[in-house]
Subunit: 252 residues, 6 copies
Amino acid sequence: MSHHIRVITPIVSDLFSEAQLQPYATDSIRLTHTRIDKGPASIESTFDEALAQPDTLVKVLEAEEEGCDAIVINCLGDPALNPAREIVNIPVVGPYQASMHLANMLGDNFAVISVLDNVRLLLEHLAAKYSLSERYVGFDYVNISVLDLEADLDGLVKAMTEKSVMLIEGQQANSIILGCTGMLGCAQGIRTQLLDRGLDVPVIDPLVAAIQMAEAMVSSDLSHSHHAYQTPPEKDIVGYSFPDRKENKKTA
Amino acid sequence: MSHHIRVITPIVSDLFSEAQLQPYATDSIRLTHTRIDKGPASIESTFDEALAQPDTLVKVLEAEEEGCDAIVINCLGDPALNPAREIVNIPVVGPYQASMHLANMLGDNFAVISVLDNVRLLLEHLAAKYSLSERYVGFDYVNISVLDLEADLDGLVKAMTEKSVMLIEGQQANSIILGCTGMLGCAQGIRTQLLDRGLDVPVIDPLVAAIQMAEAMVSSDLSHSHHAYQTPPEKDIVGYSFPDRKENKKTA
Amino acid sequence: MSHHIRVITPIVSDLFSEAQLQPYATDSIRLTHTRIDKGPASIESTFDEALAQPDTLVKVLEAEEEGCDAIVINCLGDPALNPAREIVNIPVVGPYQASMHLANMLGDNFAVISVLDNVRLLLEHLAAKYSLSERYVGFDYVNISVLDLEADLDGLVKAMTEKSVMLIEGQQANSIILGCTGMLGCAQGIRTQLLDRGLDVPVIDPLVAAIQMAEAMVSSDLSHSHHAYQTPPEKDIVGYSFPDRKENKKTA
Amino acid sequence: MSHHIRVITPIVSDLFSEAQLQPYATDSIRLTHTRIDKGPASIESTFDEALAQPDTLVKVLEAEEEGCDAIVINCLGDPALNPAREIVNIPVVGPYQASMHLANMLGDNFAVISVLDNVRLLLEHLAAKYSLSERYVGFDYVNISVLDLEADLDGLVKAMTEKSVMLIEGQQANSIILGCTGMLGCAQGIRTQLLDRGLDVPVIDPLVAAIQMAEAMVSSDLSHSHHAYQTPPEKDIVGYSFPDRKENKKTA
Amino acid sequence: MSHHIRVITPIVSDLFSEAQLQPYATDSIRLTHTRIDKGPASIESTFDEALAQPDTLVKVLEAEEEGCDAIVINCLGDPALNPAREIVNIPVVGPYQASMHLANMLGDNFAVISVLDNVRLLLEHLAAKYSLSERYVGFDYVNISVLDLEADLDGLVKAMTEKSVMLIEGQQANSIILGCTGMLGCAQGIRTQLLDRGLDVPVIDPLVAAIQMAEAMVSSDLSHSHHAYQTPPEKDIVGYSFPDRKENKKTA
Amino acid sequence: MSHHIRVITPIVSDLFSEAQLQPYATDSIRLTHTRIDKGPASIESTFDEALAQPDTLVKVLEAEEEGCDAIVINCLGDPALNPAREIVNIPVVGPYQASMHLANMLGDNFAVISVLDNVRLLLEHLAAKYSLSERYVGFDYVNISVLDLEADLDGLVKAMTEKSVMLIEGQQANSIILGCTGMLGCAQGIRTQLLDRGLDVPVIDPLVAAIQMAEAMVSSDLSHSHHAYQTPPEKDIVGYSFPDRKENKKTA
């Protein structure tokens, strides 16, 4: 029987579809998709991220209610990752966190290449928050906005490859993380071009990494610690309506 | 002429009033207050914080529009601090960030005593994000919810003093940060009781620290770096309405 | 089609069997097992580890030659992990590295409970080598040698639970890593007993974590960086005979 | 009523005057100035600093005796900062410590541009001592000695701007600290030139930062921790004469 | 031929004599001693240290002038270490720096037991300045002033042993550094008592460590880097008189 | 009476001889040499290192059995350093560990220039394991294999000097560590050429540093902590035969 992983895209534009995810489904992994109804068209700042979080949390509660086995939040900024863990029992995975840990295992350090310079501090802060700054050896960006990524995929792969070469040769980066989940599907092309130049480094597609990490957690019967991510105390909330939370009492 | 500092309380309950802030106003500092209209009754989790952020950002834009000289976000979780800096030019100060930096200058390290264990990870993550973890030597909590803090202030001061003594003697904490801005006004009482026991450590009231740090920035003619906190790209936003942003082009 | 993961046990005693691994096989994961022929009966020191490494590397080369998709080295000391990566192209996973990264994602920090005090420094050094020391909040041991672990599994679970409680309550550990792969199968029992005490923290079985991480890498079409783990230059070797290495030139 | 802040210049030459400080006085801040009688003409090495400290400590005791509310030591090396805190109860502020903390709040990282390469290690060591090395992203110098700074202020501003551009673009510095208090008054000019090039980063004048931080401490009724900076035991001292110390017993 | 190492005691009291040092002289090491003429009777604060530094630097210049091969500054606070390196070409060794590095090689971490709580911050700051804080696992003190150490050596050894046991068992300290060079000669007694309790950890006498490290430098024909410790620029100095400095141009 | 230091070369080729070591012997230091019988011709990868370790440990036990006072392992990778310490009571010194600590004392930071890029990660990992990464400011390599180093010593010195200049000027390296013990004897030549260019930085020959550090330990009557490096539990070992271990119970 397969595990049901819900991918939640925390933007209101239709950049992702359920059909697009199916290449990453397997006999073990069933993938469904939803996007938020309120929030920004794309996430390219912490301002965008702040507006994406409330409705993402609604979708997180719905996913658990609908019986999903795990949740992946489809944005490299890992928006609402910690609040989501506070309110559900099933594993919630952020693509950036998953990618950085995977990159460390594969290459001992990593560099990130994202869309705009605007996300630089956001990505540095997440590495610091996860205590992974020491192995974060470089950041660069292709200067294309999220919603324009799909316009010229060949150009994107080429630009990403150039930036990768600079980070590998200049900063001794041993692995590359694609800095936006909207770059889905580009990793293999970049990797091929890097191998052509004799540079054998893994290129990590963060959405794929997040799906695989979610599957690893579900298969190991593991979820996040409610000793770390504690259930929020009940209280009045004005202006947002949430589905009822399941009682956060896990059973073994 | 005095500087106009706007204190924004990012919760919908009436825990704070403008009158309560006036003891901290001076000839140089004029203090006005507002609270958010949509969000949680109090902030005791990252979930609460996620719901507090969007309307806090509305109030941040309004404050700049109204000609305030600086903004203080009145919650130790520093909610919406970075997104706020992305969208305004006037200084925005978070009480926790201000307190940790002040504590390091006064005591070379610090411990935090907050309301509930639920905020432990949130406060640890902020210290990591600000690269201040090395001097964060301890955390404890009095197990009183934010909205109950005012019920027994004498008891609160006594409990905070006991926890302080344990952190000073057991963890060699050299300064104490009150772990919730709702503890406003308790610092002096705790300090007095600590001095009575021969423990001469500063006790930092985070809202006061934030107001003073905001004043220091305004007086020095300094504001945050838009090279770090870059202006968010324009895009469609569904479900939230914001006042027009002023153009983020500073002039010297 | 399933992925073939080879588990290599780097000790000469028959503590593990292929049959024992099958509960962790799935439709996607085929598990085979081998152990080394030369080396120590168990690994409880860096001395033992030094003697386990050469024959482990022989088994690593054999696994790739036989067409395995990934390799797991079955010991928490991750013996021969880096040399193995230098000589093969398929992913090689160490249980401790996999567990620490998984623990950080699930609980933001971790503590390890192992067999003897002798491995304390070895485990600290690995955390430092992987740049994960900041979140390594505690170590303890049950004082039972590796080869005696199976003698009283109920007693082991009980002892591990007691040590876990101390680390969770005393050091604020948010997740527990079983400190020896010989504790295979104990995680669920410890977790149940911890939940009974109201402590909801993940308990990570390192061999299971390693298998899942290997599967995640194979499924993502990722392997380690040969920019980090470079192919050893050819040279004379006296006293050890190795199968021919495949040429270490990856193709995309 | 204003707070009386004493600025102590720890060099024997007349680089600073009380008149020069008055632009930084306000309704709240009264500024007086003194310089040491024994010591070096300027501080450009730890050797110079060692000779500046004893008489600086005399001036520190005098300031407290004269009823000052706070002390600022007017040199970026923060000479005698910790010993001063050991012997007085009023806040003592070092410009470099104040600037680094302020820079972290405004820009999340900082770079320093000083007079000579000779002070590089001194400034690195202070950042390490204050646990702020992680955000110290670069150092450069204009190669002008302290006593020659005033000879060509326009040239200085221009040189500082060029160095700033290199640190912002090459090291991703988000804020700039003027690396010598003798550069007083140059911050605005450098900031203007950086804005002209589209680089919106704060430029911190360390003496101004220190004065403002001292005012923030006095206004918050806070001083340094005598649990950290403990009163020196009484003992014989040969070759130096000090005013009597006030008893170091604070009262709330 | 032996190397001439000058031990400079940076206090004015006669706690040390040249005769006392002779047990540490060998065929290779000739030891001479001097003490300062101006300064404090003992060093138990950064205030004391500030007063000890100027005359220590006079003695440092004299030692090089007299043809010594290396200098040891006889105080755990390593007073004037960096300024001394700026003004001479021969190696200058600080006992604390030497001890911490030696301790890391012998035990991978260390704890310090000193005279009074007053020196706690000073010793922490030095560890941070030398980037050795990560392995500094504990501090304690016997509460005996420097000048009283010799009054009851047996009692001192016993007290030090008790504190050592607590640090080894409670903080997992793997080596102990005597926290004051005035404890010269006590290491062996403490070590013997620890071995009697089954605790096999090195006990480092910092003055001995410093002498040996000075000898290692001289024997390897190495001295400090003038790229790090640069020669101070010439300038007027009031109130201190120094012997002429030799030109700081080394020859290979 | 001199101390007998055994240098163990952990490769099977005859790169080193006892005669070659004699220039580093003194009245106090007697140097004898041995090499391993089984293992690689040179060490240029962690794979090579893994094969070098078992027989190195045989030689380590023999050295203690033969009454040596200390052991130096003659390879910059410090192979078998920790396992060796577990099985003997006399000090065992690794050249890289000794060099990094010495470099920190002499220059406050260091860079390493080695033979091939293959050892980059190995050397980074050791610095992390020893908690010295913060001061490791650069790595480079001359692209000459270990066994070819002696072919053109003048060319080697010249190439090392060029790399040194780049690291000193580009990375602010304050000291240089020769990245292979096979470069024995080159330090002085590199130092001379650097001084000719006005760059006064120490150049550390790691084998000499290790010998001197071993002498310092023996002269101070210190050896490694068996609380850190604990005696391995007895157990069956297949395929390796070892001399009997002396009982690991030290006496004072």
